[in-house]
Each structure stands twice: as C-alpha cells, then as structure tokens.
Symmetry: C2
Subunit: 305 residues, 2 copies
C-alpha cells in the first residue's frame, strides 16, 4: 500500500488529519530533556529523546509526523543519525513520516536526493513522503515522481507556502491570467495522473499554507483527488475554519501540520511545571484538541447529505 | 575580506573564472579510487580521496570548487563528514568553496540552514558561498542575506537554471510583461544592495545557466555588479561563447562551473589508462583548457579600449 492509500486509511481510522511537525530546537526544550553536554552527539541524543516522547504521546491523535530535516542536519552527522532514529520510531508507532526537505535540483542531483530519501538504503525505509520545490521544473522532480509511481512514495510539491513572503513570487499574476501558484497546481495535477492509488487519491500532492484559505480553496478546485499538506496551523496563525476550505468532497484529502503549538505546548504550563516534565502530556493534549477542533469544524461545514 | 572581494582577487590573480563542480558518483570513479567496501564509511573515504586528487590537480586553474551536497548526503552521516573534509581541503588550497545546496524554506528553518552552512560551527568555516532557491520569497532568504551583509558570505539565488525544464516556470511571462526569472533577478538586485564590498561587487549574486545565453545577457543587464554563477558548461552543452555574454563591463563578475567534464575527464583516456591512475592529471588538463578557452573567448569579445 502506497502513501495515498495509507494516508486515507489513517485519516479514516483515527478520524484525524493532524500532522505533528518535528522542528526540535534546544532553546525551547524543557529543562528535563536538555542535553547533558553541548557536543553534537549529546545534542542528538536529546533530539531523539524529545521526539520519542512527542511521538509516543501524539500517536493516537495524529496520523503523521513531519520531521524538518534542517533541524537535524544542523547538528552534522550525529543529527542525521538522530533523524533516522526518530523516523524509525514514528514508523514503529504506525505514524506516517513526511520528510520536510523541500529539495529541488537538476537531474543527476535530484536523482541523488530521491535515492537518499526514498530508496531502501539510508532514510528511505522510514520515509513515506517528501516535500519538493518546483522552481526548476519537471525534470528536477522526475526522480521523485518516478518513485511516486513505482514505489508508492508520497510527493508534496510546494504550491503556496505558509510564510509571510510567500505571495512575493507565488502570487505574481501570469500573462495567461492566473497567479503563478495556480500554474504550479496545474502541473501537480499532470504529474499526479499516473500515481493514483486504489482509494482514488494520487501519491503526488501539494503544500498549501493554511494561512491562505482563499488560495487553498482555489488549489482544491484544481486538485480534486490529491492530498494537500497544510502547514501554518497554530503558531503561524491559521485555525480550524481556515483548513476546512481544503477538505475535498469526501471530507478528506487534507493533512494539517502544526509544529511549535504541539511540541512546545508545555511552555504554557511553565508556572506549574517549570522543568517541563510533562512536555509529552502537554503535546498529547494539544494534538488531541487540534484533532477534535478540526473534526468539529469540518462536521459543521459538511454539506447536508 | 568577504566573498565578493575574495572572488574578485582570485579571478584577477589566476586569470580564471573556472569553478570545479564536485559531484562525486562511484560509478564514474576510476578503478584506482574505488572504495574497498560498499559501506558508507569506506565510500566516504573514497569520496575524500577522489576529491582531494581533483582539488590538488585543479587548484592552479580554478578559483573555486562547488561541492553538491546531495552527492555527499546520500551516504548518510559519513558522507557529510567527507564533505566537511573536502571543503576544508579546498580552503587549505586557497580555493573558494561554493556549497551547492539550493535551500529555500520558511523563517525558522531557513535560520537553521543558514546557521548550519554559514556559521562558525559545522561546515561554516569552510564555506564561502551557498546557493538558495527563491520560490518562498524574501523572508525565506533573510537568514542567508543577513550573513551576506554581516559576515561577508556569498549567496547565489537561483534565477534561471541550466536544466532542460528550467523554462517551464522560470520563463513564464508575467502579467507585468517580463518573464518570472527577470522578476527574480530584480529581487536579487534589491537584496544585494546592502552587501556590496570594497571592490564594488555584491555578496548576493545569481545562478544563471550558461545553457541560456540570451537570458544570461538579460540578467547581466539587471545585475551589473553582481557575481553570476554559471552552471551548464561542458557536459550540459554550453561553450565559451555562451558564457562570455555574462561578463560585466570589467570583464569579470562571472564564475563558470563545470563538473563532469572536469572531474571525469579521465574517461576519455580509458584506452591508454584503463585504471584511471591519471584521473587527477586529466582533470588538471581539462580545467586548464577550460580556463584558457574562456579567457581567449573573453579577450576576443572584449570591447576595444
């Protein structure tokens, strides 16, 4: 079973679209999980411990984790070992793993990345899907798309991102009438045509910021049977009503990521738990609250049958 | 002395604009440098040995090396250690190091990348410049641009890439008249304004494929005092006349990358040297020939004084 079907099954079984973004930064770790020493090896051990706690606490409410590779890579080789361990731990806990890498490069390099992240060696066995950047065009994505077709790997193409400057290029109006991000969404539709799984969804989807609900609605029109990965929930400002615009006619097709508002939820309780011993429990509650809040908003906005 | 001045000094002293792209793949390594075992540790040792040979052989003809991070990363943590060793070796041989990473991500992640590649820890001490992707807009590049302003690091923004599909998005005509890549070049001009060094060049430059000489000419008009990094020479098909379009009015401002045509030049001599013992010498000749061919083409096309 490839990514598209696995995601559908997980969303239905858990009645959840929650993705927990793993962006571990030491300065927001609770004192109880701080590394014993500043060396990359000790830091990497702390990253693993922290993320294991989050995974174990949120595995019931969430369908996937999205480790952001930069937060591991910055610690050098031991950081990448930590990432592999975290991804394996997530898989063992039946969470999908979406590697947030945003790669985009020319043919031979794209092949190297796709191999490193999606094949049987390295991180591949623990990674279900990956994010990619479209600026270099089709040939730069072909090694990823091939693995979506042949190996059932999930590919999320950046279409309209969640950051404040996203509109600077992505919403530039093209001479043909539409803004650039819509042209990218059209390409995603073409790229995804040959990677549709049994459940009707394609393995090729799009990243669309929940911070841009109007653009999200437009992308959903262009991509009716595609998974949309929605960052921007929580700390970046988007709420449940913003993400509902992304649901497809089956009430599925979206995965909503929150990173800091879940993994650092303990910060809101620092007055009663200054050492953050309950950081995992705080994450659990934040993830469960996000799950139920979105489910309720979706139910309220569902068309009457 | 920051990147822009260092590049100017190197180009003048060596009368060269050659950048040697380090894209090491085992299947093209000469038998004499093949790893002793398939494990990442042995492979990484072979990557270092191979690249050391190339660096030592090309350090007179070239001004910089451009390691492509994917070709190291694919071997996991030992691969990244190899990259650090290769970069250090290049610096010790007075070559500039341009890390080809093509990163582009939202604020907190961009900060993590910029820190990992350009600060005093990790790869930072050995990296002079880095390539970045503009699709996410200004805030995604700010952590890099800040290090261009404050620490003299070089930033090369992808403007018009050298791959076959580059035009698919980059040459889309905008409603305002120009193609997308020109709009990106205009942004690069703004971003580079506060990072101009004593020699008159900005630390913020652009990647423009030598395979697209018309677009290169246009980018040069928009970016008159900026370093342009030109991939696509050699194996990708561009020749000396193509790159000349990128030279500025001082006959400088370009860095021309060739990867496979230099580092695998030994393949053309396999009949006389089947084990590739002379791979470094072959690279030396290829780099020197590239240096002199471009210098001659530039001299012929220089405006009469």
């Amino acid at each position: 079973m490839g990514f598209a079907d696995s995601a559908l099954q997980a969303v239905r079984e858990k009645r959840s679209v929650v993705v927990v973004g793993l962006d571990p930064t030491l300065d927001r770790f609770p004192p109880s999980v701080q590394p014993k020493a500043p060396q990359p090896e000790a830091v990497s051990r702390a990253l693993v411990d922290f993320c294991r706690g989050i995974i174990d606490a949120t595995k019931a409410a969430a369908v996937a984790v999205k480790p952001q590779i930069a937060f591991f890579e910055r610690w050098g080789p031991p950081g990448l070992e930590a990432l592999a361990e975290v991804a394996r731990c997530a898989k063992e806990n039946r969470l999908l793993v979406i590697l947030d890498a945003k790669r985009g490069d020319i043919g031979s390099t794209a092949e190297a990345y796709a191999s490193a992240y999606l094949d049987d060696s390295g991180l591949g066995p623990w990674v279900d899907a990956i994010t990619v950047n479209p600026y270099l065009g089709a040939d730069s994505l072909e090694p990823f798309l091939r693995r979506a077709r042949d190996r059932g790997k999930g590919i999320f193409v950046l279409v309209r991102t969640s950051n404040p400057s996203a509109a600077q290029l992505q919403e530039r109006p093209l001479a043909e009438g539409m803004p650039l991000y819509e042209a990218v969404a059209e390409l995603v539709r073409q790229w995804g045509e040959e990677a549709v799984e049994a459940g009707g969804y394609s393995n090729v989807g799009a990243v669309v910021g929940a911070t841009a609900p109007e653009q999200l609605r437009r992308v959903r029109e262009i991509l009716p049977y595609h998974w949309l990965l929605l960052p921007g929930y929580g700390a970046q400002g988007a709420g449940p009503l913003d993400v509902v615009a992304g649901f497809d006619k089956n009430g599925a097709g979206v995965l909503v990521n929150a990173s800091r508002s879940i993994i650092y939820a303990w910060e809101n309780r620092q007055d009663v738990d200054p050492d953050g011993e309950g950081y995992a429990e705080a994450a659990q509650q934040a993830a469960e609250e996000m799950r139920s809040t979105i489910a309720e908003a979706a139910a309220r906005s569902a068309p009457p049958v």
